[in-house]
Symmetry: C2
Subunit: 414 residues, 2 copies
């Protein structure tokens, strides 16, 4: 065990951003690989320190330690492998070898460099079983793992061309350094993080309120995961704008609530993903992280409270979990009630995502204690403005949406 209590994770915020200019000779000489959006977003995550203490894609020793012991080789807690995969074919084509520096491009522009320290094969099924607790390829995280190419490249990453974050996300995008500065400016020393990939209903709102009390927090940081979408998910624009609407419409006071985004492709790894979320939010400056029922789960792969119990084994993670039961609508209490307090469980009305989706689909304004009216109206507006008519992800949205980030051409010649 090592000291995880320092903040950020590992004690030092990783910052590996060195903007290059268009005429920089180094760019032209490098072997070049275009990367998909998952890898591009992880390059950004690594370089700004969202994933501190990582400085690049993992070497085999780290993946081994993460897979077997949920720690890095250095001993710090870590739960999800962050790897760069490449086919043998590509490796051969580029005559790639350890010691090379690769130029990673995205959207046809230079993005980052990768100092290749190690090229290695890995047993993907073993990785999947350890990280996801299953080898079932119906699990989206497992499926993602199985589609990884034959070899992993480990080594440090440097962002050479910081992408622009586009509207409406740009107001919610902070690097860990920026966010830590904002929290300090506001005088917030105890901040409890809320993970979301949903438009908030009243149950989410009270989950946050209850956790704020339980953490005796100054404020709540909503950190919405923006990344790879599946058909039927809420569109990203609706998620982040609706979360912010809870503040704008006064369901939270200005001085206790802040909405922000995290670029990350959900792995749906349940308890292991909960640990990952905790570490990232620790890097963002949060002292606490709330975890409701079935955090980051999918299907019925995980016990709904596995993500609560996993923290019992990680007393040294350095961010405090705030674990909560269900909030529901209680007709006897005439309001949102907490499973741990309300004696009318037999009459509870679940605030289920499914019910919320139905109200949106049929377009009938739901009762204010399910969706807040301002949230409901905003989501309808987002459907028109960003969703090609739907608040949910469709094929058309996937094809035509405005990208979250744009990699610009390299800066003007120096």
């Amino acid at each position: 065990m090592v000291d995880n209590t320092l903040s950020p994770h590992g004690g030092k915020l990783t910052e590996r951003v060195t903007p290059l200019q268009a005429d920089d000779q180094r760019v032209r000489e490098l072997k070049t690989i275009p990367v998909r959006s998952q890898i591009a977003s992880e390059c950004v995550g690594i370089s700004y320190g969202f994933f501190s203490p990582l400085e690049g894609f993992m070497l085999k020793a780290d993946v081994d330690a993460v897979v077997e012991d949920m720690r890095l080789a250095s001993g710090y807690v870590w739960s999800i492998p962050i790897v760069f995969d490449l086919s043998l074919e590509e490796i051969t084509r580029l005559s790639l070898r350890e010691g090379d520096t690769l130029l990673l491009t995205h959207q046809d522009q230079p993005l980052a460099t990768l100092d290749v320290e190690e090229i290695y094969a890995y047993d993907k099924e073993h990785l999947a079983r350890q990280v996801y607790g299953t080898g079932d390829e119906n699990h989206p995280g497992v499926r993602r793992t199985y589609t990884y190419k034959d070899r992993f490249l480990g080594g440090k990453v440097t962002l050479i061309n910081p992408p622009h974050v586009n509207p409406p996300y740009e107001k919610f995008w902070y690097t860990p350094r920026e966010l830590r500065e904002r929290l300090a400016e506001r005088g917030w020393t105890k901040v409890v993080a809320f993970q979301t990939r949903n438009v908030p209903h009243a149950g989410h709102e009270w989950l946050m309120k209850g956790a704020w009390f339980a953490a005796n927090a100054d404020a709540i940081l909503v950190n919405a995961v923006i990344g790879e979408k599946r058909t039927g998910d809420y569109i990203d624009e609706a998620i982040i704008l609706a979360q912010d609407m809870l503040r704008a419409a006064g369901y939270f006071k200005e001085n206790v609530y802040m909405a922000s985004i995290l670029q990350w492709d959900m792995r749906y790894a349940g308890p292991r993903e909960a640990v990952f979320h905790a570490i990232v939010r620790k890097n963002l400056g949060c002292t606490h992280h709330m975890f409701g029922r079935d955090h980051a789960g999918v299907g019925s792969y995980y016990d709904p409270y596995a993500a609560h119990r996993i923290f019992d084994e990680l007393p040294d993670i350095g961010i405090k979990p705030v674990v909560t039961l269900e909030w529901w609508y209680c007709p006897a209490c005439e309001g949102i009630a907490y499973e741990g307090l309300c004696g009318h469980a037999d009459r509870k009305q679940e605030l289920s995502g499914t019910f919320m989706r139905r109200t949106l689909e049929i377009g009938v304004r739901p009762p204010p204690l399910t969706f807040r009216p301002e949230v409901f109206d905003l989501v309808k507006e987002c459907a028109d403005k960003y969703g090609f008519g739907s608040p949910f992800v469709t094929e058309s949205y996937l094809k035509n949406r405005n990208p979250v980030m744009t990699v610009p051409p390299l800066g003007p010649a120096g």
Copy 2:
């Protein structure tokens, strides 16, 4: 400073109960003084350890330390003098001197003995100014102090004839030892106390719920102060039964809530009384005590949050204060909202005691988010059953009410 962290206060629960029998010679030989209900109830409080580490009425050194430094002479935190007052006339009549043992009677029955260690005079105005922050005799605590007789008698108290607690209070009456046993049986290790002398409205209910979260408590102990009443107060029967109704009607689950009583004549000493309440609830086995706005205050003698700040000076008190702002009804949130979170302060509807009283007076069923319907109905029922038609204390109630406790004749001859 001494170690206040042990539980009960001072490290050891005082227990000075030695039932005597009717033919016990000792009783007949003692000088006898009938005592008023304040003193009788304090004899009970001392003897069962509600006021641990006190073992009797205070000696001058303790009163001095309490008055000047809010500590006992031994160094333990203590805020309110617990004194036995007697006129010089009575002292002369009985030829009372230090070293005597007095028999205290109540309701014409032997109740307790007092080993007179010290007979002393005290500057009552100085005491009042220090304890109540004012010498104004309109303050009920100050007025009580001024009516104390000329001399104080300090010394140990022994309960020789435990009173019976009458219905409907008897189900809510636990000695500190009994209560600690009950908490342990239920597996409650973190219990947050709620002080009350009111019928609960929805704001009180949520004050308790919020504090339960903030303390990460297993349960809430409602500890209703039953004692001297003023005209217009809620009748005691309505207070304790209505608090228990929150559990019975499911606004709190069975396994998180327990109602109990404390026999104590309120001093309305604001911050000093908050400290006293904290110590007594520590003796009852509570780990936390919630304090809302204007705790134990009266009129405008105290800053509404003075009772929050006083604990900053008492880090060694050994029970954790949970301080809370206001809960109100918010029409925008459509429910009970917390001052620290709700952004609609301009639209708040105060859940004032005055409004609650009015609804009871006119008998119109209030909205469920003010008074819970079961609570409202119960209070009306109590008015008929115990209040001579009123839920509020009247002259008729004061004269004819059933006493909370009855001192029986001494046990049968051994």
